[in-house]
C-alpha cells in the first residue's frame, strides 16, 4: 500500500474504505536469523535497515507492549547534529542526513520539519566554546551559524535578554535541525520493515537468554522459546534489566526525564531554543502546544514519572528565559526512563557473548539518533563490524580509557 496525494484523493471518493493496517500481526516462528529485542524507534529502524539496506531475511522484532510504547513516544521530538567530539559529530550528522531523506525512503509522513535550533550563550567563555563547537559541526558538514545578540533579537524578540544572572549574548544556530513526529517515525519504520518481511511480534516479553558455551542460541519469551543466530538488544531505559538476564552489568543507570506540553497556542516559537544554563529547552509543536523540558530528576528510577522539584526548576527556567509563557496553561506532563551511561554517550557494540549485541545508553538524546542508530546497529549485526560513524561507541571504551564525554562532566550519570 503506497501512500500518495492521489491515493488520499481516491480514498476520499470511496469513503476511505480502502485503507489497510500498516503491518501484519504475526505469531512468532520457532526460529529466526536475527532477533531484535525492543520494538521502539531504534529496534524498528534496525530491523528495517537490516532487511532493506543489508538484504537480510528471517528477522523478527520482539516487543513487550505495543510498537513504539516506550521512549520513542515520550521524547520532545528534537532532531539535531550539533555535537563537538570527533566520536559523536559524524554519527549525528549521518543521522541528520538520514532524517532529511526519511519520508521519501519510508513513503511515510514523519513530519520532519527543519525549523532550526538555537543554543543560547551568556558569557565570553561560552561564546568561545560554542564557536569551537560550530567549527566542529562545519568540519562534519552539519553547518552552523554563530548569532550575535542583535541578530538573535531580530529572530526571537520575546526572550528576556537582560536577565540579571544569565543575560543573553547570542546563540549557536543549526538551521538544519528541527523536530519530527516521533510516533510517525516508529510507525514508518515498522511499516517499512513489515513490507520487507520483518515479523513484528507485539506483547512478547523476553524473559531470558539461552546461552551455550559463550554463544547465544535464542531467547525465552512470554510466548515461548525462539531460536536465533544473532540477537540485538535495543531497549534503552531497560538495558540493565535485559542484559542482566545474560549475566552482564552495564555502565548505565536508569533515570527519569520529564517533559511538558501546554495547551495549543498560535505560532510563536520559530524553532527549538535551548537555555542550558537555566536547565530549559522549548519548541512548539505543529498543533501549537509548547513542548519543553529540562534536566533529569537525578536519581535512579524506573517509574516513568518524576517529582515536583524538577517541575519547579523547569518552570523557573522557562519564566527566566521567556516570561510570556507564564500565561500558558500546562496541558500534560510525563516522564520517560532513560539509560544514563557513565560518559553520556551511547553503546552500539557486540558483547562478550557470541551473537549477542547491545544498542543502548542513549541518555536523554536517543530520538535524534534513531535513523543512524538503526543503520549502524544493522551494519554491526549484518557485517560483524561497526559502522564507520559509530566506532567510538564500544562497550569496552570505559576500561580502555576512551570515554566519549561530550559534556566533560566525568563518570557520573547525574552530571550529564
Amino acid at each position: 500500500m503506497k501512500f500518495s496525494g492521489f491515493r488520499v484523493f481516491a480514498e476520499a471518493l470511496k469513503g476511505h474504505t480502502g485503507w489497510r493496517p500498516l503491518w501484519r500481526n504475526p505469531d512468532p516462528k520457532p526460529s529466526y536469523d536475527y532477533l531484535i529485542v525492543g520494538g521502539g524507534g531504534h529496534g524498528l529502524a534496525t530491523a528495517y535497515y537490516l532487511a532493506k539496506t543489508f538484504g537480510r531475511s528471517r528477522i523478527a522484532v520482539l516487543e513487550k507492549g505495543w510498537l513504539g510504547s516506550g521512549n520513542v513516544g515520550r521524547n520532545t521530538t528534537i532532531i539535531r547534529s550539533n555535537y563537538l567530539l570527533a566520536g559523536n559529530e559524524p554519527f549525528y550528522e549521518f543521522s541528520m542526513k538520514l532524517w532529511e531523506g526519511l519520508e521519501q525512503e519510508l513513503n511515510f509522513n514523519a513530519m520532519v520539519s527543519q525549523r532550526g535550533i538555537i543554543n543560547l550563550f551568556h558569557t565570553d567563555a561560552q561564546r568561545d566554546a560554542f564557536r569551537r563547537r560550530g567549527n566542529a559541526m562545519m568540519l562534519a558538514g552539519a553547518g552552523a551559524r554563530l548569532l550575535g545578540r542583535e541578530e538573535l533579537r531580530a529572530m526571537v524578540p520575546f526572550l528576556n535578554y537582560d536577565n540579571a544572572r544569565f543575560p543573553i549574548k547570542g546563540g549557536l544556530m543549526q538551521a538544519r535541525a528541527g523536530t519530527a513526529r516521533h510516533d510517525g517515525v516508529a510507525w514508518g519504520y515498522a511499516r517499512g520493515g513489515d513490507s520487507h518481511g520483518v515479523d513484528l511480534i507485539q506483547n512478547c516479553e523476553v524473559t531470558g537468554f539461552r546461552l551455550d558455551r559463550g554463544k547465544v542460541r535464542g531467547v525465552e519469551t512470554s510466548r515461548g522459546y525462539i531460536a536465533a543466530d544473532k540477537v540485538g538488544v535495543a531497549v534503552a531505559g531497560s538495558s540493565s534489566r535485559v542484559m542482566a538476564m545474560a549475566g552482564m552489568r552495564l555502565p548505565i543507570e536508569s533515570h527519569v526525564l520529564q517533559a511538558f506540553v501546554t495547551e495549543g497556542l498560535k505560532p510563536t516559537i520559530p524553532g527549538v531554543i535551548t537555555f542550558g544554563a537555566g536547565h530549559f529547552y522549548i519548541s512548539q509543536s505543529d498543533k501549537g502546544g509548547l513542548v519543553f523540558g529540562g534536566d533529569i530528576d537525578g536519581y535512579n528510577s524506573y517509574a516513568q514519572r518524576g517529582n515536583l522539584p524538577v517541575v519547579e526548576d523547569v518552570a523557573e527556567g522557562g519564566m527566566a528565559l521567556m516570561p510570556m509563557i507564564g500565561r500558558a496553561r500546562l496541558l500534560r506532563m510525563w516522564g520517560g526512563v532513560v539509560d544514563m551511561s557513565m560518559d553520556g554517550s551511547p553503546i552500539i557494540d557486540r558483547t562478550h557473548i557470541d551473537g549477542l549485541y547491545l544498542n543502548g545508553g542513549w541518555c536523554y538524546g536517543g530520538f535524534k539518533a534513531t535513523p543512524a542508530s538503526g543503520y549502524a546497529f544493522a551494519h554491526l549485526l549484518a557485517t560483524g563490524a561497526p559502522h564507520e560513524t559509530a566506532r567510538a561507541y564500544r562497550i569496552d571504551r570505559f576500561a580502555r580509557g576512551h570515554v566519549v564525554d561530550e559534556r566533560g562532566a566525568g563518570a557520573q550519570p547525574n552530571l550529564h
Binding site: S238, S240, R241, A244, R249, L250, P251, I252, E253, S254, G298, Y299, N300, S301, Y302, A303, N307, P309, M342, F398, A399, A411, Q412, P413, N414
Partner: protein, 96 residues
C-alpha cells in the same frame, strides 16, 4: 520524596544531592593483583535494579552527612535511611 534522616527526621529530598549505588562503600583493594579491573568495575559498572535500591544521598543543604537510603526505584517509595558512617562501620572493611 521525603527522606527519614536518622538525626533530623523527615527531610525533603531536594536538600540532598545524589551519588548512586551504596555498593560504592566497598572500595576495591588498590594493592590487589586485579586492582585495575576491579576499579574499572567499581567506577563504571552498576547493578541498576528495578525495585529496592540502597543508595548514597548527601545532605548538602542540611547537616552535610552522607546517608544510605533504601528506596524503591519503581515506586519512589523511601523505605529507610541510615548514616553512611554506621553502614561503613558495620562492614568488615572498617572493623579494624
Amino acid at each position: 520524596m521525603l527522606i527519614p534522616h536518622p538525626l533530623l527526621g523527615l527531610r525533603d529530598a531536594q536538600e540532598f544531592t545524589y551519588l548512586g549505588d551504596a555498593r560504592l562503600i566497598d572500595r576495591p583493594d588498590p594493592s590487589a593483583p586485579d586492582a585495575e579491573a576491579a576499579f574499572c568495575d567499581y567506577v563504571f559498572l552498576r547493578d541498576n535494579p528495578a525495585g529496592v535500591h540502597r543508595e548514597f544521598w548527601f545532605h548538602e543543604q542540611g547537616d552535610r552527612s552522607w546517608l544510605v537510603v533504601t528506596r524503591d526505584t519503581v515506586t519512589h517509595e523511601v523505605l529507610g535511611a541510615e548514616l553512611a558512617r554506621d553502614a561503613a562501620l558495620s562492614r568488615t572493611r572498617c572493623s579494624k
